[in-house]
Symmetry: none
DNA sequence: GTGGTCTAGACCACC
DNA sequence: GTGGTCTAGACCACA
């Protein structure tokens, strides 16, 4: 077995948060996102840390910068975010899911019922 | 957003490993499992850390100790392991999976194809 | 006319230096490059600044990292560096050159002679 | 490697702009050039900065002042500008160009094609 | 020893 | 106000 430090790092968590904001459309293409200082204050971390996260998202071309004005989601930002997230989904989440299904002896049918329960609320 | 320390204590990772050994049947009910020192040597950690993990598994009644003889999987061990893993599966993995499916716009059909690809190997 | 701050930033200068080392083959593919602290001491800047530069080169996939061991030039590093440098050459140096040739009334023949002078040393 | 402050003083950029105006003939010998205040307003800088630039051009004998009338390009102004620009071209641009050609492995023939592309527009 | 992250605080340019 | 860079120093994990 592999023992590894799984700590994610604050700036990485902030970046993931940003990616999800873009994926969910809360931060839409072309729109301005919270300023470095603002988000830093909200989250309670050093502005440099948020800057690191934004820098990372900028290198992924999900956001871009306009000097003196702020950070903005790129037009192709959502697309880039989907590509990125989909890849980690295929490489990490899917194998882990397969393993759990096998260990817990959950088949396709049961998984489907767990994911999309025919709940009472849906019948209203 | 929440910033959280995601570092998984090493002992916890070892415990998860043990649970998976039980689930997969490698460590069967009533059987003796590797000694603390043995597993510590294999994994490359301090014996105290493995002891901590075994303590944890013992508190979950998945393994038990027999003075002077070692640690053994309890008769009801696999059952307990399944309950535990199933719970964390429902509470953690499933919600995360739902969220990703929604964000990545993957529907039930596509998920099924990703999980059970109609590959050549399956046709053997 | 445009007035702009042309200051290049230390980390960017260090990154450019690194790119030239890779282009010239001083830092060859697969080889280890100076450690962050080492280069920082040589250049006389804060290690964080060198880290920033290396981080930038890493995002360009010119170098890669091996935890606890150091930074290494990627196998495709030189190629990536050439692509990058060639682009800025075409977009920045070439237009400036054209402008100067026009203003100074230097034609293709004269430029060729300036670039590749039939010097005495070459005749030895 | 050397770390250097590459920031080009604004007055220097304005002076370069003036030199190019003279070289291109927009500001011809003997003619009056824009007043300090006028150019300052156009460019959006402090009049003192433009004054600094004009002072610099005067010391190069490219322009001269006529009390109460304004600044004028000297008769030998274009010549002086050519000398100056040619010198910096030989001392700065040419070496940098040689270095890039070598690093990017661009030979004389390829450079010629990049500088004078046989485009459709040239055939008109 | 190596990379890597985070904080605190300073200073700059752009708007 | 905004982004952006740099320093100083601390602490961690990996080898």
């Amino acid at each position: 077995m592999d023992i590894q430090e799984t700590s994610q790092g604050i700036y990485r968590q902030i970046a993931e948060f940003g990616i999800e904001q873009v994926l969910s459309g809360v931060w839409a293409g072309g729109e301005r996102i919270p300023s470095v200082r603002q988000l830093a204050a909200e989250v309670g971390v050093n502005p440099n840390t948020v800057m690191h996260a934004y820098d990372y998202l900028k290198s992924l071309e999900i956001i871009e910068t306009q000097r003196g004005k702020g950070f903005f989601v790129t037009e192709a930002g959502r697309n880039a975010a989907v590509q990125l997230r989909r890849q980690t989904f295929l490489e990490e989440e899917l194998p882990r899911l397969r393993k759990n299904l096998e260990l817990l002896e959950i088949d396709a049918k049961e998984l489907h019922e767990l994911l999309f329960p025919p709940s009472i609320t849906n019948q209203l």
